[in-house]
Symmetry: C2
Subunit: 411 residues, 2 copies
């Protein structure tokens, strides 16, 4: 063992982000390593929700669309998220879910690259990305979803490809694509690129403008701590905004929604990507999460994520070398996101045992255990202790008495 508990504590003592832990509400006895699935509650989000419910809804009623700024919230919050992903404030709005946004962007990309019929993606991409692409292909004539292994994506970009759709950081392995290189390769072939940032924003460095990205989508409820099912965000590069049009043309995307005209006319810029009335309570919870991120130095976040990751893996290898875990996340900090994934044939039951002991990670079928190393609220001692609990669980074997994964259960 190269690291001691004292060493972990010393790292906490000099952690410039350490004070951020107090912004969160976390249950006693829990080491929360599932922030890549559902970020925890911020005190500010709790207070924002109480205000939104009791004052804005309860007292302001319908007047709050104007008086509390509800009507501008999708653009306002989008503009804030833009700062986290290297976009301009007029390139992002918050709307719908990641899946619905993917549908909009894929259809729009296919229309913008008329004549090209292929959506290129990777096998094992996050399921909803694949499923939505399959739904697009089932709905539009001649569209084809071509899924190839991750390493083969770049070579598979040919002049039949309308759009390359990839997840920047893989949900299962945490593998991180080279966004700049693949985007450049897509552009060279005349294709658009659509990046899913669900496991990136708020966790690893993203710079959409620098990488010349066309389209992006991301999830609000993971590293952004936006609350369960928080709406998604959509990015369209300014240079494409005039040409691209969402197929789902709802009233919130109209140039003048409250003129109530019979004919759709798309709003200028990103508001055309809005569709229906946004779920305001969920939207405002997301804003509280985003606001915290705006106060944090991204390079400090990335550095701490790397150090937490390294400590976790070092400790896991030191304490659990004989317990059958295989690391599937890259050791190269530039090629991974902010979680550690290991496989184990009994992953589900082991994770349930860990959760019962207060170490909350998650399981991804068939055999992956994920542990998010989220720098905003995890400390080095937390990570050190988490691995101690993993070791204890593996040593006692008690997890073998737990039930197997049942159908319909959320993992």
């Amino acid at each position: 063992m190269t690291s001691s508990l004292e060493h972990a504590r010393a790292m906490d003592a000099r952690d410039p982000l350490r004070a951020l832990r107090d912004r969160f509400i976390l249950p006693a006895g829990v080491i929360y390593m599932d922030g890549n699935s559902l970020g925890p509650l911020l005190k500010a989000a709790r207070d924002r929700m109480a205000h939104a419910v009791e004052v804005e809804w309860g007292q302001g009623l319908v007047r709050s669309w104007n008086d509390a700024g509800w009507i501008g919230a999708p653009q306002r919050i989008g503009g804030k998220i833009a700062r986290l992903i290297g976009a301009a404030s007029n390139e992002v709005v918050v709307a719908d879910s990641t899946s619905v946004i993917l549908f909009k962007l894929l259809v729009a990309a296919l229309q913008a690259r008329r004549g090209r019929k292929v959506i290129l993606t990777e096998t094992g991409n996050f399921p909803t990305d694949l499923y939505v692409a399959q739904g697009v292909a089932a709905s539009l004539p001649d569209v084809e979803v071509r899924a190839v292994a991750s390493a083969d994506v770049a070579a598979a970009i040919d002049d039949g490809v309308a759009v390359v759709m990839l997840t920047h950081v893989h949900y299962k392995t945490a593998a991180r694509h080279d966004m700049a290189a693949i985007t450049a390769r897509a552009h060279a072939a005349g294709a658009l690129v659509l990046w899913d940032l669900s496991h990136s924003a708020g966790a690893v460095s993203v710079n959409l403008r620098a990488d010349d990205v066309d389209l992006a989508v991301g999830c609000g409820y993971k590293f952004l701590n936006g609350g369960p099912g928080a709406p998604a965000y959509v990015f369209v590069a300014e240079r494409l905004q005039q040409a691209l049009q969402s197929p789902i043309t709802g009233w919130m995307g109209h140039a003048a929604a409250f003129a109530f005209s019979d004919q759709f006319e798309p709003a200028e810029g990103m508001p055309r990507w809005l569709t229906g009335t946004p779920p305001m309570l969920s939207l405002l919870a997301l804003e509280a999460g985003v606001d915290l991120h705006l106060t944090v130095d991204p390079s400090a976040l990335a550095a701490k994520s790397r150090d937490l990751w390294d400590l976790f893996v070092e400790r896991l290898e030191a304490r659990c070398a004989d317990h059958g875990f295989d690391l599937i996340t890259s050791r190269d900090a530039d090629r991974r996101g902010s979680h550690v994934s290991v496989t184990h044939p009994e992953g589900y039951r082991i994770m349930q045992a860990l959760i019962a002991r207060g170490v909350i990670g998650d399981f991804r079928a068939p055999d992956v255990l994920r542990f998010a190393v989220t720098p905003l609220y995890l400390g080095f001692e937390d990570v050190w202790r988490a691995v101690e609990i993993v070791a204890e669980v593996m040593e006692t074997d008690a997890w073998r008495a737990l039930p197997l994964l049942a159908a319909g259960r959320v993992t």
Copy 2:
């Protein structure tokens, strides 16, 4: 004047729904007549939100997907809404927004009636219904949106029509279509019918099974009191569920979402209409609104709505006959919804003056003032007093000093 204030008070005294007013939080000095735009806050919704935020999210964290029943919420709440609209509990789920649901249903209906290319609707339908249909037509080959005047819809249903899409109660005029007759006419011509219940559910009697309806969608934040931007609900008749497929195939609609397979396989029944992770906070607020409705006798609700409507109009005609208002809502209780609409060329400024005096209705361009008569929390004295304030506002002329409607303002 045939009604006196004493008469209104006597009606309140014998109102069987009177006690429900105490379930709501309404600001002092407000007579809220905009429940057809945003229903007010229930005490139960306030408490449910605090619990959802502080206990389920804050303490339960990601475990709440299983332990707090989040994963089943779209079906659970859908099953409750089903009881309000004469559907079976396995015919409704809550998802997305009304607009996104409209898109899904229209594309599915066109695929189910392959060869037919017309979406038939009425001019002046709620804008998002028209806009979404236009977006579908722009996305799919040869699809045409045919909009005719309300009275001409039935005659326009021919064998080219794939789906007749209508709003049951008109947002502007409160005119109510004969759901059974138009549905039968559509079926006779081989078309499907899609009803938008946004201004119906929770306000007027709806019985989808009795009327043999195929498809329906509705809004959660109006008469159901689900909170700002509450998700929508979608109904597909059981007899069609196997044949119809949403084009937006997200992971929540998969037969086994947590198997994380690469290939979409639709869930059986209504869950296939789910797409992304639902906005849980907004969803749970909606449940509180729906729960209240489940305790109310629908016929008592309809009767009180009718009586409130009659009193409002009688008083308006008695007190404001010379002020230039024209009633555009049917006097036939069976042919209208639960709001009163009048036109006035200065409608916007008059409504702003009313809102400033605590009578909150709304304005729909170019000249409609809407006053919802919502039986759950409005009393007869409220309605009587509201008209007194309308009369006072019109007599003083002070509204003429108010600003005109500015672009971008929510009405």
